[in-house]
């Protein structure tokens, strides 16, 4: 899961700014790499790829601002069992 999320972020960042380096803990929003259009695509990707449903109350930057935060968020949503995780 981590690799997939990282690849998704990486492929988009490279369109904007080639050769960007970031760690799994880096805040990709604060670094200014990410605009809202990409954030929407990122959330749609997490929903489709990992079978979760991102509710309005989940729209908190702390759930998405780094690769590691996204991994924990997806794991937590899967445990909650909302949205019927697909396998």
């Amino acid at each position: 899961m981590r690799e997939k999320i990282r690849a998704m972020v990486e492929s988009n960042l490279n369109i904007f700014n080639s050769g960007v380096q970031f760690s799994d803990d880096d805040n990709i929003f604060r670094k200014g790499f990410v605009d809202s259009l990409f954030a929407v695509q990122l959330i749609a990707y997490l929903e489709a790829e990992f079978g979760i449903k991102v509710a309005n109350k989940d729209l908190d930057i702390n759930n998405f601002h780094s690769v590691n935060k996204m991994v924990s968020f997806v794991e937590r949503k899967r445990q909650e069992g909302t949205g019927g995780a697909s396998r």
Partner: protein, 349 residues
């Protein structure tokens, strides 16, 4: 939304725009007064496109010969089902299916489109002369922006073509566009366009609240509000007035009662620019920055824009409104590919 104003009319060609079948008989002739219908709708800010099963090159040559080719944006002339063409047009224009009108002489094609896209309004094209009088094709306001709408989409197509051909990072491309983003306090002459924006925008609209010229004018005169309008220009031309913010002054805080952007600027990434500007302004004035948001079912993009700009949920109201608050921390620098011009005076507010 039933009976939404039509933003684009999608025309069939054979026996709709012209009499006859192009590939069977080269001597087709335009339907009577079709140019008048196309031209009048165009001036009202309603776009035109095409969904036709035909040979693309032959059909485009014929449209040019008739002198009407330039009216049509993203013409879909191909051998697929018309529902596919409608989907492509909807995607390219980025407008709602409920704002499309599809005209075809063939009941089969109308039914096929209706079965796939239930929100598209499908009509028998033989009634085309009655279109001009229909309420859904008579927008309440025809503003400077509506009359230029097709021009703006054509500029956008030119931009996209150049962007596709451009080799290198996107930021370098944006820099080459010489974009100017202007934030101004609304003048009386802006109010009609401001009202139009509150009625036309869905995806990038924080509350979905509609405001009339009268209510906006009352707010403009009332010292508690500031109405900001944004205009975006680049080397291809102006996108027009594409953003609107209503700011309410409260004790120790500013509240964004409404924030919206036209979907035309989605890819230009300017949504965050106005918020960055407002965050800096609020911090400079020593006030908190709040914002209203209401989930309309279409506007998640705006909720995410707020999130990315450092707004977090602070309270929920019974009426479906959420109050967001900005931490005013880590405000990013304004992007250097934009020339940002500000005509707003906060000092006397």
């Amino acid at each position: 939304m039933a009976n939404a104003g039509v933003k684009c009319v999608v025309w069939d060609l054979d026996n709709t725009i012209w009499d006859g079948t192009l590939l069977e008989n080269d001597s087709v002739s335009l339907k009577p007064r079709i140019q008048e219908v196309l031209g009048t709708l165009d001036r009202r800010g309603i776009l035109h496109s095409i969904a036709s099963r035909n040979d693309r090159d032959v059909a485009m040559a014929k449209l040019r010969e008739f002198g009407i080719a330039d009216y049509f944006l993203y013409p879909e002339i191909r051998w697929d089902a018309k529902s596919v063409s409608i989907r492509n047009i909807q995607k390219n224009l980025n407008i709602g299916y409920d704002t499309l009108l599809f005209l075809d002489d063939q009941p089969f094609d109308r039914d096929e489109v209706a079965s796939v896209h239930g929100e598209v309004w499908c009509l028998d094209s033989s009634g085309y002369l009655e279109l001009l009088g229909h309420p859904r094709l008579n927008p309440k306001y025809v503003t400077e922006d509506s009359a230029l709408r097709r021009r703006m989409y054509l500029d956008d197509i030119a931009r996209r073509k150049e962007e596709e051909a451009f080799v290198g990072p996107k930021e370098s491309f944006l820099r080459e566009l010489n974009m100017v983003f202007e934030i101004s306090e609304a003048q009386e002459t802006d109010l009609m366009r401001a009202e139009e924006l509150t009625y036309r925008t869905n995806q990038l609209n924080a509350t979905g609240e509609k405001y009339t010229v009268e209510s906006l004018d009352a707010m403009r005169r009332d010292g508690r509000y500031k109405i900001l309008v944004c205009e975006l220009k680049d080397k291809y031309g102006s996108y027009g007035k594409i953003g609107l913010a209503l700011v309410e002054r409260m004790p120790g805080a500013w509240k964004l009662k409404l924030l919206l952007f036209s979907c035309r600027v989605l890819s230009a990434g300017v949504g965050g620019v106005l918020l960055t500007y407002l965050r800096n302004a609020a911090r400079d004035q020593g006030v908190r920055l709040l914002a209203d948001f209401r989930d309309t079912g279409h506007n998640r993009m705006m909720r995410v824009t707020y999130m990315v700009s450092g707004f977090a949920e602070q309270a929920q109201r019974d009426n479906g409104f959420i109050i967001l608050e900005n931490d005013l921390k880590d405000v990013p620098a304004l992007p250097d590919f934009l020339d940002i011009r500000i005509n707003v005076d906060w000092s006397a507010w």
